[in-house]
Amino acid sequence: MNSKSGISLIEIVVAIGLLAAVLAPVFLIFSSGNRNMEMTEAEFRAHNCAIEIMEQIISLPYKHIKSGTYTSSDVKNGLNFANSAILYKISENYESELKVEDMKEKGKSIFKKVSVKVSYQATKNSASKRSFTIKTMVANETN
């Protein structure tokens, strides 16, 4: 008969296993904090890029804001906007799409709807891309 029983191997293994299971989520929380920070930065930079593209289009005279859809290969620093002499000025490279639509009333363009879509990588290691779109309207003030 055992009068003094010690801790058996099985018990120790189970204890360590439990401890590991409890600690794992704690470490996951820490690493998710870092990942969120990285994601915020990526989003901030992409957002900044989108505003930059939008601002330069809406600051043009109304008749030079030419309607159309411009894909990522058109919207690059130094390229021409809508085949005109006006050039894009973009500080950071992102995959972006620009769309300008006419809003007409009685055959006359009264508004232009400008939307910019920017795609970005959320974190350095993730393969999936995120994107967001910002939109605004420009009024025809010439008449």
Partner: protein, 178 residues
């Protein structure tokens, strides 16, 4: 055959210490990795927020700028802007000032008090105005822009930094000059 005291066998002890060694190593490695990541991101959040605040201020102010005279020097950016809430035009001045921990950036509106926008060390900041003229028909299009290059550093820790490059196209001014 009576066993009164049961002890661990050598095999048991070896197995347990091997398991705990693996476990402890994993935990310590995780901790070290976490410390590394934490100290890296500790300031990047603050610096990012300050950059975001600065660029948001500059965007709003410059979009309300009504005078094409935008004065820039190494330490100052000055222009007249329309204040929506007051309904008047007043000068807005951004100044880089020396502080014990490096350089800070302040913003002054009209006759108000200068308020600090960036508290961290502004390691380098360029605000270059440029006027591009495009040969469009029938009249050339002019476009004024302010190119920004901001580099913020954590005080006394130059290895922690945040850099942003961008351009601002003041809306009202661009409508005026065309």
């Amino acid at each position: 055959m009576k066993q009164t005291k049961k002890a661990f066998t050598l095999v048991e002890i070896i197995v347990v210490s091997a398991i705990s060694a693996v476990f402890i190593t994993t935990v310590v490695m995780l901790l070290i990795n976490f410390r590394k990541g934490y100290s890296k991101s500790e300031y990047s959040g603050i610096l990012m927020q300050e950059t975001a605040l600065l660029i948001a201020h500059l965007r709003t102010d410059l979009n309300n700028a009504v005078d094409k005279q935008i004065y820039t020097s190494e330490n100052q950016l000055m222009f007249n802007a329309y204040n929506n809430s007051k309904g008047i035009t007043e000068p807005i001045v951004y100044t880089l000032e020396k502080a014990p921990q490096g350089r800070i950036l302040t913003r002054k509106e009209g006759n108000g008090k200068a308020r600090t926008i960036v508290k961290s060390n502004v390691a380098s900041l360029t605000w270059q105005t440029s006027l591009d003229v495009y040969e469009t028909k029938p009249v050339p299009v002019k476009r004024l822009s302010i190119d920004l290059d901001i580099l913020l550093e954590a005080p006394n820790m130059p290895e922690k930094s945040f850099r942003l490059r961008s351009a601002i196209f003041p809306n009202r001014v661009n409508k005026q000059i065309n």
